[in-house]
Subunit: 132 residues, 2 copies
DNA sequence: TAAAAATTAGTAATAATTACCAAATGATAA
DNA sequence: TTATCATTTGGTAATTATTACTAATTTTTA
């Protein structure tokens, strides 16, 4: 039951298509890549609308905004926490389907004076086509 | 034996002070914060020089460039891999002194088709002064 | 000491993201 | 329905972190 279901904001056509297109792919696209995808369905949408809605959707945990230290942020249609891997050759980002290591949070809580709430893991390496 | 020791680039005064000031603190400062620190010692240094040298030093593994999804990147005078925690209240970044979990790399390698070489962990939570 | 190479300060350019605003759209209720 | 009110959009301008450029300076080399 997120804010969309509760009608705290409208499911406009623009919003719907952005969400649909993002959920279709597992490539973790950037805002401009999403803009290009969406424009094929809605040629008149503006880049500002894409940014505004990606921000709204990620602030409301309907999608995720990811940062891999590249120039542009990436987006993930899957809002649940999971690990990612970034190819040092071509930059592609894939999911790592392994269970979250919850004990890490406890270990970090013992090692610091923080109240730890979550963690992110980002692996790096080389994808199949970059392994040579 | 890094490129500095091998004289592959010069240890200019600017470079020396940037490195010294960064190594003095454990606050993971941004480029402009380092600029402000360094300017107290070298009032005429330019921000471009700070950026250029931070880039050079991190490319040569003498320091680290870190990204916590904030507007500005942060820098770490400690080049060895270690985990960090980011306060959701005030944004401060601290080290998490716990051993690296090397098995994570193996688990990720089994879960993907990548050749995995390393991983980063970023915890989030609330620091002592933000716990209320 | 002359020439070559590296580095700097200062400034301009780039590029991702955010802010702004008038027009359009959709919801609400008399 | 119809008038009002709130939300959202497209288009564009502004912001800002970072990079690029360049002439001058410093250091190295021969
Ligand atoms: Mn993902
Ligand atoms: Mn650190
Ligand atoms: Zn690759
Ligand atoms: Zn805090």
């Amino acid at each position: 039951m997120n804010k969309l279901d509760k009608n705290e904001f409208r499911l406009t056509n623009q919003r719907k298509v952005i969400l649909e297109e993002l959920k279709k792919v597992k490539s973790h696209p950037t805002a401009t890549e999403i803009y290009d995808m969406v424009r094929k369905k809605m040629p008149r949408i503006s880049l500002g609308t894409v940014y505004r809605n990606l921000e709204l959707l990620s602030n409301n945990s309907i999608i995720q905004k990811l940062d891999f230290g590249e120039a542009q942020k990436r987006f993930d249609g899957n809002p649940t926490t999971h690990y990612h891997i970034n190819c040092k050759g071509c930059g592609r980002v894939d999911d790592v389907d392994m269970p979250l290591n919850q004990e890490l949070d406890e270990l970090a809580e013992n090692a610091t004076s923080y109240k730890v709430s979550s963690h992110h893991v980002e692996f790096s390496g080389f994808c199949v086509s970059c392994q040579n």
